[in-house]
């Protein structure tokens, strides 16, 4: 089995500092992670130097990945985070769990709408 290369994604380097509070900065981090996953590599997210971090930032950086890839793909292409403090992981876990629930619910709602639409078409 060929081991995938892990590409380090340093949040504070992308954002340009440790204050990771803006959703727009989260988008910049998301773009980098997305690129790595799309190219078949493994993204290793580093929290080095991150001093402040909002869920709005993490939702944009990581949460939306669960609407773009299935969970198995993300498990395969996201390495365990590195350079973290306990609070980084707590918040990340909260956002990831919320994202999984949000997108599974959204899929369920879309399925309901689809079935209603099909009923109307019939």
């Amino acid at each position: 089995m060929v081991k995938m290369k892990a590409i380090r994604i340093s949040i504070s380097s992308i954002v340009g500092g440790g204050i990771c509070v803006a959703a727009s900065d989260g988008q910049a981090v998301h773009r980098e992670i997305y690129k790595v996953i799309s190219s078949g590599e493994r993204a290793e997210i580093s929290f080095f130097g991150v001093t402040r971090m909002t869920t709005a930032f993490l939702n944009a950086a990581v949460g939306q990945l669960y609407g773009e890839f299935d969970e198995e793909t993300l498990k395969k292409h996201l390495a365990p985070p590195v350079d973290f403090e306990e609070w980084h992981l707590r918040r990340l876990k909260m956002v990831v769990d919320r994202a999984k629930a949000y997108f599974s619910d959204r899929k369920r709602i879309e399925e309901i709408f689809d079935s209603i639409k099909h009923d109307d078409d019939d």
């Binding site: 803006a22 959703a23 909002t54 707590r90 919320r98």
Partner: protein
């Protein structure tokens, strides 16, 4: 003009005078009712010279200067020119210290977080501001866990306002430390569409504005639709305040919601507050550990 409010001399004024019909304005339901009534009065006029008459006012919680500036700046956006009249010297001094009123007054005790305006995309500037103000030696010595939770709470608050308020004027934020009471108050006020308005824009209707606030304060509830999930910020803040023994209150248009000592109450106020104000008051002597007992395995995140 979005700066502090100038003071005028009543005996020289030919302005249209609007009375603040309150003897005191505190961060509670009555206080927000008085502020909302002031806004309702001011919103009737455009391109006028208006004086706000504070003759009856004997007290205002300093941090509510953020709300006054929201109300005054929305009126200024209608072309009105606003001045304050008949203000008691003690209140004038408090409101000058925190930059609500024009005129310099030194904050000798260093307990004021001056009312400062931020644009919606000023998240990083806001974080820098709060850090620099709260790291001053006059500010409370909070445990690292508490300080972290406080910063987390106000960052979430700002992010929430930036995402949802749709405010035509800047957001105003500031606070006050009360050393004898071990309390730190912080407030954020926007002049936007309100919580009920942003939920309605996302297709979620509530009969009462206070019910809309109550729904938004629950963890995982969000108006968010589309590709980015949401719904954590306000819930985090509510859980933190409950653990800390502090107080969180939200006034949004005519809805009022408060969590104090773990007890939630909601009310309707008679006026309409122009947007949303969120006030966070924490107990700074809290020594609880805010670390969860079980640590998270980094191999089980995804």
């Amino acid at each position: 003009m979005q700066g502090p409010i100038p003071k005028g001399r009543a005996d020289l004024s030919d302005r249209l005078m609007i009375d603040i019909c309150a003897y005191e304005i505190r961060a509670d339901m009555r206080g927000f009712d008085a502020l909302a009534r002031l806004h309702t009065e001011l919103a009737r006029f455009s391109d006028e010279k208006i004086g706000i008459d504070c003759q009856r006012l004997g007290w205002i919680d300093a941090q509510l200067g953020a709300c006054l500036l929201t109300i005054v700046n929305l009126s200024r956006a209608l072309g009105n020119d606003i001045q304050i009249f008949n203000i008691a010297p003690r209140i004038q001094s408090i409101l000058q210290k925190n930059k609500t009123l024009l005129g310099s007054r030194a904050d000798v005790h260093g307990t004021t977080i001056p009312i400062t305006q931020f644009d919606r995309d000023d998240e990083v500037k806001f974080s820098d501001f709060t850090r620099s103000r709260l790291m001053r030696r006059e500010m409370p010595r909070m445990s690292d866990g508490l300080r972290g939770k406080f910063f987390e709470g106000i960052d979430e608050l700002f992010a929430n306002s930036a995402l949802w308020s749709n405010s035509p004027i800047p957001v105003f934020a500031g606070g006050q430390y009360f050393p004898r009471l071990d309390r730190l108050s912080f407030i954020l006020s926007d002049g936007g569409q309100g919580i009920q308005g942003s939920l309605a824009a996302a297709g979620r209707q509530f009969k009462a504005p206070e019910d809309a606030i109550d729904w938004a304060m629950e963890m995982n509830n969000s108006a968010r639709q589309g590709d980015i999930p949401g719904g954590l910020g306000l819930g985090i803040l509510k859980d933190f305040v409950t653990m800390n023994g502090g107080c969180l209150l939200v006034c949004s248009h005519s809805g009022y919601w408060e969590a104090r000592n773990g007890h939630v109450t909601k009310h309707r106020i008679s006026g309409i507050y122009p947007g949303t104000a969120v006030s966070l008051e924490i107990n700074t002597s809290d020594t609880k550990s805010y670390h969860m007992q079980s640590s998270i395995n980094p191999h089980e995140i995804w």
